[in-house]
Symmetry: C2
Subunit: 291 residues, 2 copies
């Protein structure tokens, strides 16, 4: 599984560089700022999920590389804006200075805006997909990225800072902030590959549990990880008075919840055969990750 | 002409309110912030241009209200982000406190992000247009709004602050910052209405001259307008050390250039009959406007 991931990550890296190179950018600093964050590595999890969902349905996931890249430009824009002083005010990301620290707040905001907008240009570059299908994917992705998904979750998160929130509110924050785009990645891959309604429902359920398991693990790592391994300061949630799965329960309870949710994610895949093995492996990998 | 404009503006106002109402927004403050700026009035020029271009080609422009609204959500997002302290740092817009003054920088950034993303959801709500045509429109609009258009122009503008720039550079700034979206509005209207290549080229040329005339007039109004009429402080360009058509030439020269460019815009419409009368009237109206 790790081998396939590595190969596909390399595909995504190359495709992202190519998509950016194909894009005329009026201002050189803006291009540098976009490239700085887009090409800063990372797990490329959303593109990988999209391709893996298409695989699960019996297609070749690598055929949908353009749409996969669009998810990564959206994810990258969200990180740039989240790190701004007006938001989480983080100076370090993946072991590097954050975008606004290097380029200033103004250019960082614009680089985020440009990467979000670029996503839709890049989706349109996707070849060999019927127009109706591509429109459906634009719809999935725009709704997941916007006020009813990622941006909405980020706003909830911002509003919840410095006050105690309930477990239910925390769940809403993360469903929006990270869950919605995971879900769009898996659903888009399935739709592009021509999934049946049953397959689409199964992958949506997988996405839900996967997103939750991912987030709980993130919260756990913020407590027990090392700054070197995760590339940003540990304990930042506590410092920012952020409610997390660990702070609302306890470390052992959060770990148990992560395991349990991971199992539910795997169960959601029961209708699939060996084509979904990558998605199965992904869950245990992410729950046991160190970064 | 003013009568038709008023009627269509009312159509756009109602449609914008409806599009927002249809959109689930996870956070109540985020929704309030989006609504505050989206429903703050304004000329609704980009939707009006889209519909007028479709009219010129012989269709009924009001059929394409969803795509028209998407242009306005994009325009509104750009105003919110432009007004931020990290950018132009404006406290007043259309006679009202700017978004970040009311909601704080964090929510203002997110409201902008949400309105940009919403544009693509709203385009997808457009009915009675072939899928291939709608994809072409998504492509036009995303490219115009992004790094090769509006965001690129904004970055050029930000980089040019506090230094003297050439007339050519100023032209590039405005081609990106305002011209690109005007152009996308007119081209999208034409494409949706099934324009021929000749018609599309003519409307593109109109858009180019129209955008320039609009911008020169904006610069002139910043010098000779009254704060009350234009709804924001006058002289803000000079205060911000911004190069403008007036500062790079002189007031009379800028006024002559505006007239001349307006004529070129009207000439570009020579292949059209009475269906383009609204676009013709629009030019003289905008060049002679007081706000």
């Amino acid at each position: 599984m790790k081998e396939l991931w590595k190969k596909r990550r390399e595909l995504v890296e190359a495709a992202l560089a190519e998509e950016l190179a194909k894009t005329p950018v009026l201002d050189a600093t803006l291009r540098a700022s976009m490239e700085y964050s887009l090409m800063a590595g990372g797990k490329r999890l959303r593109p990988i999920l999209l391709m893996a969902a298409a695989d699960a349905v019996g297609a070749d996931g690598t055929k949908f590389l353009s749409v996969a890249c669009a998810l990564e430009t959206i994810h990258t824009y969200s990180l740039i804006h989240d790190d701004l002083p007006a938001m989480d005010d983080d100076a370090l990301r993946r072991g590097k200075a954050t975008n606004h620290v290097v380029y200033g707040d103004g250019i960082a905001i614009l680089a985020g805006d440009a990467l979000l907008t670029l996503a839709f240009t890049v989706i349109l570059r996707q070849k060999d997909v019927p127009a109706e299908t591509l429109l459906r994917v634009v719809d999935e992705i725009s709704r997941a990225a916007g006020a009813e998904g990622m941006v909405g979750g980020q706003a909830l998160d911002l509003e919840a800072e410095n006050r105690q929130i309930t477990m239910e509110e925390l769940r809403s924050v993360h469903r929006g902030k990270t869950g919605a785009l995971f879900c769009a990645a898996l659903r888009s891959g399935a739709i592009l590959a021509g999934a049946t309604e049953e397959q689409l429902a199964a992958l949506t359920s997988y996405a839900d549990h996967f997103g939750l398991a991912f987030q709980i693990t993130d919260d756990i790592l913020d407590v027990i990880g090392s700054a070197e391994e995760i590339g940003k300061p540990v304990g930042s949630d506590e410092k920012n008075n952020k409610s997390t799965y660990v702070s609302l329960t306890s470390l052992p309870e959060a770990q148990a919840l992560a395991r349990c949710t991971a199992e539910a994610a795997e169960e959601a895949l029961s209708i699939f055969g060996a084509e979904a093995d990558f998605l199965r492996g992904l869950v245990s990998y992410l729950v046991n990750r160190k970064q």
